[in-house]
Symmetry: C2
Subunit: 183 residues, 2 copies
């Protein structure tokens, strides 16, 4: 009946938190290509067997860890101005991925993507839907347009040319959404 | 005078071609995660030492091979209609990455991107510039807009949700560029 075992989170949640911290530290120190499961397990102070049992391999583990990054329960911007909300939301995304460790996790996640939609990207689509639904006037925008014209260019640039992303990126991309011929 | 020297490209070009074919076959057969340099060398019929000497490691090799994929010397669409040219150009890109092996190479390339601009993406920006410069009226568009609003969403979807890319994707994205308030 209950989704909650007697030990809520317990050892399992502690292992995930320790492994996540270890992966982030090691990626910053040595870069994604240099890290291995035994190295992560040692840094996290857990048995490598626990890591293999939970994730199977390094790539799966990194992909899973990467989806932990932007808290899906954080409050969304709510300024009563759709354009401003979208700008703040996109800025948060830019700020998040401007940290080299987050960009490295994103690139590592990209390498194993393509089979199922990642939690991270599903969450962005849900958030875009919420922002649009809440607005008194959504200007004919739909979540897929927000993904294509705001999120995709940010992700693309973070992956392939992070030096082209700055504080002008989010407002410029959101501005583009509002440049349409009025409907 | 001839584009064909006595040893066209010579050993080096032959090694690249054999390695490229081997990587593509192996990625299709076994997936990116399973392949190794000795495996590629064996399939290509070259000495693993040649592969290590040229590329250093597997990830660098795959990244380099990935940039070989869309021939930068191929003719660009030239219909005397900028919108149609951009649609055909974007459709070519979609078709290219709709082949699973090309999508796999793109994802593998993403994992090691971010230090320097890849040849592949630099070529796309050059092509966008050429298409815009050649047009009698470029509608105020610049190459960065074409990258952000056409190429980025295609690449993003190919990497993270390839099942959302179809024959409507390219004309829809290019159409968005032409929806602006007239300048």
């Amino acid at each position: 009946m209950s989704a909650r075992p007697t030990r809520p989170g317990g050892r399992s949640a502690a292992v995930v938190a320790a492994v996540k911290a270890a992966v982030e530290e090691l990626i910053e120190e040595r870069g994604r290509a240099a890290i291995t499961i035994p190295m992560v397990a040692e840094r996290a102070g857990v048995n490598p067997t626990s890591v293999y049992r939970r994730w199977g391999d390094l790539q799966t583990m990194i992909n899973d860890i990467a989806t932990y990054r932007l808290d899906p329960k954080r409050p969304l911007p709510d300024t009563s101005d759709l354009r401003r909300d979208l700008e703040l939301w996109a800025e948060e995304f830019v700020t998040h991925y401007s940290q080299p460790v987050n960009a490295a996790l994103l690139r590592a996640g990209a390498a194993t993507a393509g089979e199922v939609e990642s939690d991270c990207l599903r969450n962005r689509r849900i958030e875009a839907s919420l922002l649009l639904e809440r607005a008194p006037d959504s200007f004919g925008l739909d979540p897929d347009q927000v993904i294509d014209f705001v999120i995709a260019p940010i992700i693309y640039r973070i992956i392939f040319s992070p030096w082209t992303v700055d504080e002008t990126t989010a407002p410029r991309l959101v501005g583009r959404l509002f440049e349409r011929v009025p409907v």
